[in-house]
Structure formats: structure tokens, C-alpha cells
């Protein structure tokens, strides 16, 4: 099983209700995107699933265990199986890329191996392979503050793939990438999920990317699930209703490239064309 939420809610310390009555069940290997206007609770939901926050109501089950009933050691082993891609990669600027990638396996490595790898990288080949999937292999020994925002975000994704988690959580994982790269990076995440059987749960700002890569979409608004449907059964009116507060236009990735065109078949075609030229 991937995870299961049963009428879960999250109220922050300041009394703000970030999530309420959320019931979800995501199976092993399933790929689900969560979309919704900003402030809908997407990040809170992902932090809940990543065991960074504890639900204030309801029940949470991740990878077959209730994380908040586990002993400290068991919680650590569970967390090592959850990989979270953060919107802004939490990587110290002075770290070398290879070290930043290795940090992904700290939960699996014994402590001595992690310490040793700070002095001399223990698995250069593995880090190289993870980066190569995002066209960053030549940056292996670069310092992270020499990378652009988009490159750093891809390093953050590569780190989580290197972790080899059973559940991949992604919080707006491609927000800093241009349309072509965003598409390629999402494709890589989906491919990894298909290859390893890991569940993939991603929040996305761009609706078109969610529709393209994910067979199941969850709409979140005001901390509540508005719809939870197979992509094929999703209608335009449902999407427009979800984003009603943000104006008439749906937020899509490709529109940035099409310079404000209201209908953008051209941009869609461009994404697909670059996608097919990815070579994987």
C-alpha cells in the first residue's frame, strides 16, 4: 500500500485549518497528482504524508504503518522509505552536488558511511547515474551555489531518486523549470515510479502537466478534497470550478512559452515534441 488517510485534518498552532476531512487511498505504484489554487493545502498534505507534520484529526497510514505510533527507530526506517521533493530544494549552498545527492541515502546508510562520504564520496557512480537522468552529470563536483535555480531543483529531484524510496512525494517539483525541462523531469519521475513500483504523489501548479502524466487527479480547495477522479473522467468545468477564485484561466505550464495565448495548441504541441525527443 502507498498510503491511506481517513478523514484526516490538520490545524496549525495558530488555529488555521490547513486540511479537513481528507480521505484518500493511494495504492502501491499508483501515480496521483494533486492540483488546486494556491493556499489549497497541497503543501500541508504532502508534509503530512512525509511525516513532517502530525495530523490533528483522523488517521494516517503510510506504507502500511501509522508513523506516529512507531518507535523512534522504526519511524526512522519508515522515513528512509519516503522521499520528498521540496519546491525549493533544501540544500546548503556550499555543498558539492555529489554530496547533496549522497545525502539522499543517509537514512539507509549506517552513520559511518555518511561521515566517510563527507571526506571522500563513496558512491560517485551512483550519484553520476542519478544526475545523468536530468542532464546534469557534468555538474557532479560543482558547488550547489554555482547552479541555476532550475539546475538546483533538478538536483533535488535526483537526490530523491537516488534515495530509492517506496513513496515519492513531490511538492511542485518542477516549478523552477522551463516547460520542456519540466516535462522531461516529470517524465523521469513517472518512469522511476514505473520502474521501481514506488507510489508517486505530486502536487502541481500546472494543470496541463498533471493531466498529461498522471492517471488520477485530486482537486484540493480550502483544505478539502473537491474531486478525486481518473484523469479521463475529469471535465473542463470541474477544473474551472476548482480555480474559480483565480480567474477564468487555468494555470498551465506551457502558457509561459506561448506568451499569453488564450488557447495554446501550439504550446501543447511543443511540449509533446520535446518530450518525444527526450530519447527515453
Amino acid at each position: 500500500m502507498g498510503f491511506e488517510l481517513e478523514s484526516a485534518g490538520l490545524t496549525h498552532g495558530n488555529g488555521f485549518r490547513a486540511l479537513q476531512r481528507v480521505s484518500l487511498r493511494v495504492g502501491r505504484g499508483e501515480r496521483v497528482a494533486v492540483i488546486g489554487p494556491s493556499g489549497a493545502g497541497k503543501t500541508s498534505l504532502i508534509r503530512l504524508l512525509g511525516t513532517a507534520l502530525r495530523p490533528t484529526e483522523g488517521r494516517l497510514d503510510v506504507l502500511g504503518a501509522n508513523p506516529w505510533r512507531l518507535s523512534a527507530g522504526a519511524l526512522r526506517r519508515l522515513r528512509a522509505r519516503i522521499g520528498t521533493i521540496h519546491q525549493s530544494p533544501p540544500i546548503p549552498p556550499r555543498l558539492r552536488v555529489v554530496t547533496a545527492i549522497h545525502a539522499g541515502r543517509l537514512g539507509r546508510w549506517p552513520a559511518w558511511k555518511g561521515l566517510l562520504s563527507l571526506l571522500y564520496p563513496v558512491d560517485v557512480a551512483g550519484a553520476h547515474a542519478a544526475l545523468a537522468r536530468f542532464d546534469l552529470a557534468d555538474r557532479l563536483f560543482e558547488r550547489c551555489d554555482r547552479l541555476s535555480g532550475g539546475q538546483l531543483q533538478r538536483v533535488g529531484i535526483a537526490r530523491v531518486l537516488y534515495q530509492q524510496p517506496d513513496l515519492i512525494l513531490a511538492d511542485e517539483p518542477v516549478s523552477a523549470l522551463d516547460p520542456a525541462l519540466a516535462d522531461a523531469a516529470l517524465g523521469e519521475l513517472v518512469a522511476e515510479s514505473a520502474r521501481s513500483g514506488a507510489s508517486l504523489f505530486a502536487s502541481l501548479h500546472a494543470v496541463d502537466l498533471a493531466l498529461k502524466w498522471f492517471p488520477r487527479i485530486i482537486g484540493l480547495r480550502g483544505g478539502e478534497v473537491v474531486f478525486d477522479l481518473p484523469t479521463a473522467r475529469l471535465t473542463d468545468s470541474m477544473l474551472h470550478e476548482l480555480y474559480a477564485a483565480e480567474g477564468a484561466m487555468l494555470p498551465v505550464q506551457a502558457r509561459d512559452a506561448a506568451a499569453g495565448a488564450t488557447t495554446d495548441p501550439e504550446a501543447d504541441a511543443k511540449v509533446i515534441r520535446l518530450d518525444t525527443s527526450r530519447g527515453r
Partner: protein, 269 residues
């Protein structure tokens, strides 16, 4: 537009600052009072006789003693001073880092208060006082000097490290803990890279200060150049004292230049 004046804008020369004038007058009075109270008499300092005395005293330092034997002794003293400062600073950096972790509030409020108290205590006792105590405890010699420097510098560096750790953004380490990493690797991969450059710069700066301080500590019997200087001055061997003074000067310049280089190099790489 022009009629809305900022509330804090000056209102012209008419806006006479009474408290400024009073403060200046008070300071001037205090300075004058201090001169009277301490009996400082610049007249005798700058008199012809005093000038001649000073010139004679200064001249007695020249020429410095450049006998190979004495030079070797001085070089050994300089090495000892350098070693005292180096080991003292290194020990302090290690102990300071250990105390900085609880002082940054990472191990609970009780540990934070205790380690902060300890750091304040170590820092508030000057090196010279520590040296006097350590000479009593560990005997005359460089070991007492090392302990004295290490104790005071631990207090200083510990506080600086703690502040650096506190001010570092928590997300990198937090995200590693959320992937099941242990506490120590998470700190080393998440927080240390954010603070180590600044911490090493602090350490080098303290090393520079400790070189100068190690030279002085010799006066209370903690070895090195200071002890030589004290010895030769007290038996009026000014030529030898001059050599030691020159050695101190060279040592301080060399270490300053070295640490400048290191810091510049760290800033680039």
C-alpha cells in the same frame, strides 16, 4: 505635497539640542577631572630631560643580539609561542563546537542554559587570569599557556558558533531527518556546510589574537617569547629583549598574512 513634513525631520537651527550640549559638557568635565585625579603631567613627559632619558633607553635596545646561539633560542621561543596559540585555538574550536550545539538550543532548554552559563563563565575570565590560575594548577611552562588560551577562547568561539548555528536556516537538516537520517549525519550534511566557512573564519581571527596573547602570557610563566622577554628585561639585557621583540613582530605579521591568505582562499573556493 511639501506641506506634509516627516515627523522626525529637523526643524532648523532654532531646534536647540540642550541634552547634546549638556552631554558634551559632562564628558569634558569628566576628562578634565580624570587628569587632575590621576595626576597626569604631560609637562614632565615632554620635557627636555625626559626626552633624553627616553632616547637613551630606546638606544640601549640597539643593536639587537644577533648571536647565532641566541637567535636559535629565540626561534625556538617563537615556535613555542606559535604552538601554544595553535593548540590552544584548536582545542578551543573543538570544545567550542561541542558546547555550541547545546547552547544553540538543540538539546533542550536546560542544556541550553547550562552551556550558555559555562560559555559566559569561560569568556568573562581574561586569558591572563586563566594563565595565572593554570600556572598554579599545571606548573610553569607552555602547557599552562595552552590551557589558559583554550579556556578563554572556548567561551568566545562557543558563543560565536552557537549564534551561527542558530541563525542557519533549519530546512536542510530538517529535510534530512525526514528521510530517516540520524541526528549526527543530518547535522553534518544539513547545517555544518551552512556555518563552517564562517566558523573557520572566526577561528582564524581568534588564532591571530591568540598569537599576540600567547606572547604576553609568557610574562606569567607560560613559556615562549613572552617568558624570554620578561627574563631579559628584568635583568636589563635590552639587546636580547630587542631580538625577542623583533621575533614577536615577525611572528604576528607572518600569522596575520597566513590567515588572511586562508580566508581569502576560503572565500573563493
Amino acid at each position: 505635497m511639501n506641506e506634509t513634513r516627516e515627523p522626525c525631520a529637523p526643524r532648523g537651527a532654532a531646534d536647540f539640542c540642550l541634552s547634546c550640549v549638556l552631554t558634551c559638557a559632562l564628558v569634558a568635565a569628566a576628562v578634565a577631572g580624570s587628569f587632575v585625579y590621576l595626576g597626569i603631567d604631560f609637562g614632565t613627559l615632554f620635557s627636555v630631560g625626559a626626552g633624553a632619558d627616553m632616547a637613551r633607553f630606546a638606544a640601549s635596545f640597539f643593536p639587537p643580539d644577533l648571536e647565532p646561539d641566541f637567535l636559535r633560542k629565540t626561534a625556538y621561543g617563537a615556535l613555542q609561542t606559535f604552538a601554544v596559540a595553535m593548540i590552544g585555538t584548536l582545542l578551543a574550536a573543538a570544545a567550542g563546537l561541542l558546547l555550541a550545539l547545546p547552547a544553540a538550543g538543540r538539546h533542550g532548554a536546560a542544556a541550553e542554559r547550562l552551556s550558555r552559563f559555562l560559555l559566559n563563565l569561560l569568556r568573562s575570565v581574561p586569558e591572563l587570569v586563566w594563565a595565572t590560575l593554570m600556572v598554579l594548577a599545571a606548573g610553569l611552562g607552555p602547557f599552562a599557556g595552552v590551557l589558559a588560551l583554550a579556556l578563554h577562547t572556548t567561551g568566545v568561539l562557543g558563543r560565536l558558533f552557537a549564534e551561527a548555528i542558530e541563525n542557519a536556516p533549519p530546512q536542510p537538516e530538517q529535510s534530512l531527518l525526514e528521510t530517516g537520517s540520524g541526528g549526527v549525519p543530518a547535522f553534518l550534511y544539513g547545517t555544518l556546510p551552512l556555518v563552517w566557512a564562517q566558523s573557520v573564519a572566526y577561528g582564524l581571527y581568534r588564532l591571530e589574537m591568540n598569537i599576540r596573547m600567547a606572547a604576553v602570557l609568557g610574562f606569567v610563566g607560560a613559556g615562549g617569547l613572552g617568558q624570554m622577554l620578561y627574563f631579559h628585561l628584568s635583568i636589563f639585557q635590552q639587546a636580547q629583549a630587542a631580538t625577542v621583540l623583533i621575533a614577536m613582530f615577525v611572528l604576528v605579521l607572518a600569522v596575520d598574512a597566513l590567515s588572511d591568505r586562508l580566508r581569502a582562499w576560503m572565500g573563493h573556493s
